[in-house]
Point group: C2
Chain length 225, copies 2
Amino acid sequence: MPERAAIVLLSGGLDSTTCLAMAKDQGFSPLYTLAFDYGQRHRHELTAAEKLSRSFGAKEHRVMKIDLRQFGGSSLTADIAVPKDRSDAQMGAGVPITYVPARNTIFLSYALAWAEVRNCDHVYIGVNALDYSGYPDCRPEFVESFQRTARLGTTRSEFTIHAPLVHLTKAQIIRLGVSLNVDYGQTHSCYDPSPEGLACGHCDSCLLRKKGFAEAGVADPTRYV
Amino acid sequence: MPERAAIVLLSGGLDSTTCLAMAKDQGFSPLYTLAFDYGQRHRHELTAAEKLSRSFGAKEHRVMKIDLRQFGGSSLTADIAVPKDRSDAQMGAGVPITYVPARNTIFLSYALAWAEVRNCDHVYIGVNALDYSGYPDCRPEFVESFQRTARLGTTRSEFTIHAPLVHLTKAQIIRLGVSLNVDYGQTHSCYDPSPEGLACGHCDSCLLRKKGFAEAGVADPTRYV
């Protein structure tokens, strides 16, 4: 079987780590992992991403530094409070303040550049349209359109974006990851962790994650403050 | 008339400067200009872009630092010689070594992020499909596909990419710019200038520019070594 390389966008969170496990399970090799230092409020997820890349045997892990703070506009990069303890209805209404402008477009563009240099046709991204319906760049039609744009804009006419989580619930993602032996205790999802990296338990990301473990009937290994 | 802001991708070269003049002529205001420090071999075009932005009265000029050298793969960013004195046939054959992987995809992604934060729906890019047919990300079908992706991936459903030079020859671009009083002596196109910023006169970019002035019947204001 010819070598099939894949690049996995790896934030160090629950979704992207499940994608990494899936890419490995599906026989892609070598695996390259790509994280972004985009002016997040904390570095715990970058540390998690690096460790997870190693533990899955990726050939190379890159951290691209991109300064989205220059543009502002999101509570994840600007000096805006991270919302806490929101209801499902609140989370589902409109584009959340944690949305980072054009983030996945920028992330996929870098993955595309790296794919082109590595002669690689496969990129995994852990976007999810169910839990985060408010993020326009997590919808399948966005991913498909980016793939088309990428094929037109590069020398890689077979370039394929794998978004295997796009229609799964958080509970389904967790069950899938558990079946692939993902250690979710090593992943980091919280938008607003303590200085030691403990999850706040109250931001949108913590609430969705908690609910996911509960619905999956899987013990939540997250360390909360 | 309501205010119509536009972002102009401004490299400081002949094409992007003509785009800036066109955006101004078409009544867009305020104008924002965006340049990229992407590990080019020299900084003369960044200096040119900043001066040109000021001279056209742009409200804001940003230089995004993006590290495409990490990926390598192009003579414009990696340690590969810039080709000189190539014939038209050589220039027209295949993807040139000066192609930077996914460059316009990355540039447009940043423009999109800034557009979203500024509530702006218009981006100008000076891509040209005739003179640089070897660059896949200069083709109109790429630009159209990116626009579609951008509308799907952001909150800006009216986002529009203006690529007014896409079907023009270099001579037509120069004549258009001259009619809009562009001072081409202030623009920088050379891939491999002298330390003082004088154009080499022999790289693909210099050759196309020279030929453009000759065909347009306009005196070439470029300072060559």
